[in-house]
């Protein structure tokens, strides 16, 4: 499998869990296991009216980038169902380029 990366615009991730469930049901993983997992940082207050409160979805070992869906010309399940439209699966170089040029991006390649 060619290397791929998950690119997240975490500024918009609302922590809705759809990516997790979309992956879990697509792959028939048992409850509690996912190819993509949310991580929460915060909430804490660091200045008047300023809060750290973010979600960072990260890939797990079980992600296979939805090769079967891509072959059918569909988006990966997590990407399609992401309610804030903040996920992309890309070639690592492309993901790195976008992450370098925009704020709020994280990417993880596999």
């Amino acid at each position: 499998m060619a290397k791929k990366a998950l690119l997240v615009n975490y500024l918009w991730c609302t922590g809705c869990h759809s990516c997790e469930l979309a992956c879990q049901v697509k792959n028939n993983f048992p409850p509690g296991q996912f190819g993509i997992k949310l991580n929460r940082v915060g909430p804490w207050k660091y200045a008047p009216k300023k809060w750290q409160y973010s979600y960072f979805p990260l890939l797990t070992d079980q992600c296979h980038f939805c090769a079967d869906r891509l072959a059918e010309n569909k988006l990966p399940s997590c990407v399609q169902h992401c309610q804030a439209n903040c996920l992309q699966i890309l070639a690592p170089e492309e993901a790195a380029r976008i992450a370098a040029a925009n704020p709020g991006m994280i990417f993880m390649s596999k």
């Binding site: 500024l11 809705c16 804490w44 309610q83």
Partner: protein, 729 residues
């Protein structure tokens, strides 16, 4: 694969478009429908796990009966549909003959596609006593009523949902500001508005103002967040209007042309200086000014309003105060503001009202002494119904109930001691549902099993902007399940054949679509079909029956001072009234119960009392919780994840009740407040302990009081104390 819409259980109010994948007659999984403009391929976790519910081993798939003497016991017996329907027909008709049709009450839970068929069943049977299960109709209804009093119509935030091409429609304009008021939108997905439409418009450049007692994700990312005291929203809105008026930030021309009663409204607002608002609402005076300036300088502005505003006694006044902010800034009916959406099915006010005999109307419970019910609403007051059920006056006894899609004692109802007593007093209760529920287990005698949306057809129009869309069966019904519509058509025919002239549900659906010139199957083939829409209908005369420009109100304008309310003998101005159970209104009680409790915190994995059977969803939030601030927790000696009792007075009844919860220690709540989720029961627990509902239900701390007007109940501003659960408790 079947293209469908989830506008019924186990889907929610929204009815997102989805694709159902099935194999050998069994649902395997669903995906969002990328071609559906409504959700654009997205889904929340609940529909993603739909197969867990559809295929669940505990679904009831045959009609059941139980002896009256065995209520509360798990002694159900399988019966045939013929026996079930014959029994209901015979008994309901007997009650009608002996005591009048009003002796049978019809209840529903949250509104989805089933609502019109329930009203039609009640009214064609001849009973005026169709009721919504929530105390004082405290959801959506108050907002609609408020809008009608102010504008003569109901308006919602404009996310371009009325256009097939959505945000790209050339007429559409992205809002400059979205004010999310009392709504955890991205979690709640409430009332027809897809929550992440908010992030859509933010990504397109809108600013964000959040008014919420809790630091939601939206609040943390807002340009301005006001952490308001639960229940005080009306005061804040008046205070913001005051700043706009004092600083002349409002739209003077629009007010002159289209608002009525501005001077009286301004005089009311003048009482609400930023300092007074700060004291009443627990916010900073400077933030009141900042919020007003942001609101007044960001046109187009929309308000994404949540159920929090409906869930207190001054509900429609608070809603009117918020709407007044939009009115005086001219944010009405323009792109990206609040607009009247297209509608083809008046399902909110019910279907088949004309079938109710005139003489029955006067018997509607609540219509005699609650003016809002008499003149404004078509439902019976469930609060008065509970009193009536317990007192059973000889002149007008109640005998039976039809409980369709309503898990009363786990969800909408309050003060279960009373609710339980009320329904136990009836001779014959029928439940129509997917699973055995605490409600059916407690006091029902017959159980009719229904299909999920994956197993049947239906109409999907929506609570918000309506469009022609259908729910399409993807698999055959499990066991002997039937759809709600099939059940109601069959029973309706037996009660009143002329009111239900259709051979099958397809014909009935076609009749509903008749005005469009299409039948059900054509709509099914062409869905979604969008209705014509234009902005600023008050300019073109399309809002009034007489075709004149203006709004359909007595003055033809937006009534900041409502003539309709004046006519009803109610306060024409949106005055703030302190709710009855707060540290301000009950300083003595607050000594013992110092925390302000909000109930009904929405969770990603559940819709009201539903979804708890799904292991995938349950794992996301397995037990009921109460959120408390770290400082408060430290003072109480409570750790995160510890079982606690949330205890409080049951309104002003003099009784006290408590609910068991896991403490969730988090800084998102104010140290003076606590926030609990609702709808809790444990489907896996002992049925004869009613699935633990009495121990868990947070609504036990709320009374059935009719409050100020009989609409709006205090689900979100009551008093409580919290202490650890002892061993063996």
């Amino acid at each position: 694969m079947t293209r469908s819409s989830a506008w019924t259980a186990p889907g929610c109010h929204l009815g997102c478009g989805l694709l159902i994948y099935a194999k050998d007659g069994k649902v395997e999984r669903v995906e969002g429908d990328p071609d559906n403009p409504y959700n654009q391929g997205r889904l929340c976790p609940r529909c993603l796990a739909v197969d867990d519910i559809v295929n669940h081993e505990k679904r009831i798939i045959y009609p059941l009966k139980r002896d009256l003497a065995d209520r509360g016991k798990d002694k159900w017996q399988r019966i045939s549909w013929d026996e079930a329907l014959d029994t209901i027909e015979r008994r309901f008709k007997e009650y009608k003959e002996k005591y009048g049709a009003e002796s049978v009450v019809f209840l529903q839970g949250t509104g989805r596609d089933i609502a019109p068929y329930i009203t039609r069943l009640a009214w064609s049977f001849g009973s005026p006593n169709y009721a919504f299960s929530l105390s004082n109709v405290a959801c959506f209804g108050p907002r609609i009523f408020a809008a009608n009093m102010l504008a003569g119509v109901f308006m919602v935030a404009d996310y371009g949902q009325q256009f097939i091409d959505r945000y790209d429609n050339p007429q559409y304009k992205n809002p400059g500001l979205v004010a999310v008021w009392g709504n955890n939108a991205v979690v709640a997905n409430s009332d027809g508005a897809y929550g992440h439409w908010v992030t859509d418009v933010l990504q397109r450049g809108a600013k964000l103002l959040v008014i919420d007692p809790r630091l939601t994700w939206l609040a943390a990312h807002a340009d301005l967040w006001l952490q308001i005291r639960p229940g005080s929203d009306g005061a804040l809105a008046l205070g913001m209007a005051n700043v706009m008026i004092q600083e002349k930030l409002y739209d003077e021309q629009f007010v002159q042309d289209w608002c009525f009663g501005f001077k009286k409204f301004a005089a009311l607002c003048a009482e609400w200086t930023p300092e007074r608002v700060a004291e009443v609402c627990w916010v900073e005076a400077g933030d009141v000014v900042a919020a007003a300036r942001l609101f007044a300088s960001s046109a187009p502005v929309m308000v994404q309003q949540g159920v929090a505003i409906d869930q207190r006694e001054d509900c429609y006044d608070a809603s009117r105060a918020i709407l007044s902010l939009l009115a005086i800034t001219g944010n009405i009916e323009k792109p990206g503001t609040m607009v009247v959406m297209p509608e083809f099915l008046k399902y909110i006010t019910g279907w088949g009202r004309d079938l109710l005999p005139y003489e029955q109307e006067d018997k509607r419970i609540g219509a005699d002494d609650l003016v809002v019910y008499k003149l404004g609403l078509h439902v019976a007051s469930i609060n008065k119904m509970i009193d009536h059920l317990i007192e059973q006056p000889a002149a007008y006894p109640l005998k039976a109930s039809w409980l369709q899609t309503v898990n009363l004692i786990a969800c909408g109802a309050v003060d279960n001691e009373r609710t339980h007593a009320a329904f136990s007093g009836l001779e014959f209760n029928v439940a129509v549902d997917l699973f055995m529920t605490p409600t059916a287990m407690a006091f029902c005698d017959l159980f009719l099993p229904v299909t999920t949306f994956t197993e049947r057809d239906g109409i999907r129009c929506g609570d918000n902007s309506q469009r022609g869309e259908t729910i399409n069966a993807a698999v055959p019904p499990r066991g002997e399940c039937r759809s709600d519509m099939e059940i109601n058509l069959e029973l309706g025919r037996r009660f009143n054949a002329t009111a239900w002239p259709w051979e099958n549900v397809g014909e009935m659906f076609s009749h509903i679509f008749a005005e469009s010139g299409m039948d059900f199957y054509q709509v099914q083939a062409t869905a979604p079909s969008y209705l014509p829409f234009e902005y600023e209908k008050f300019l073109s005369g399309k809002m009034r029956a007489d075709g004149k420009p203006g709004f359909p109100t007595p003055s033809g304008k937006l009534e900041l001072f409502s003539k309709s309310l004046e006519f009803m003998g109610l306060d024409p101005l949106p005055r703030y009234v302190e709710p009855p159970m707060t540290p301000f209104s009950q300083p003595e009680l607050a000594q013992e119960y110092p925390l302000v409790l909000q109930t009904g915190a929405r969770r990603h994995n559940t819709f009201h009392s539903e979804n708890r059977q799904s292991s995938r969803l349950r794992a996301m939030h397995p037990e009921p919780t109460v959120m408390i601030h770290p400082e408060t927790a430290a003072n109480l000696g409570v750790r995160d994840g510890q079982w606690v009792w949330v205890e409080g007075p049951v309104g002003l009844t003099g009784r006290v009740a408590r609910a068991k919860r896991l403490a969730e220690v988090t800084p998102i709540v104010d140290p003076r407040c606590a926030s609990a989720d609702h709808g809790w029961w444990r489907p896996e627990a002992d049925p004869e302990n009613l699935y633990d509902v009495n121990e868990l239900n947070i609504n036990n701390l709320i009374s059935w009081s009719t409050g100020l007007t009989g609409i709006g109940a205090n689900y979100k501003c009551i008093l409580c104390k919290i202490y650890p659960v002892k061993e063996n408790e």
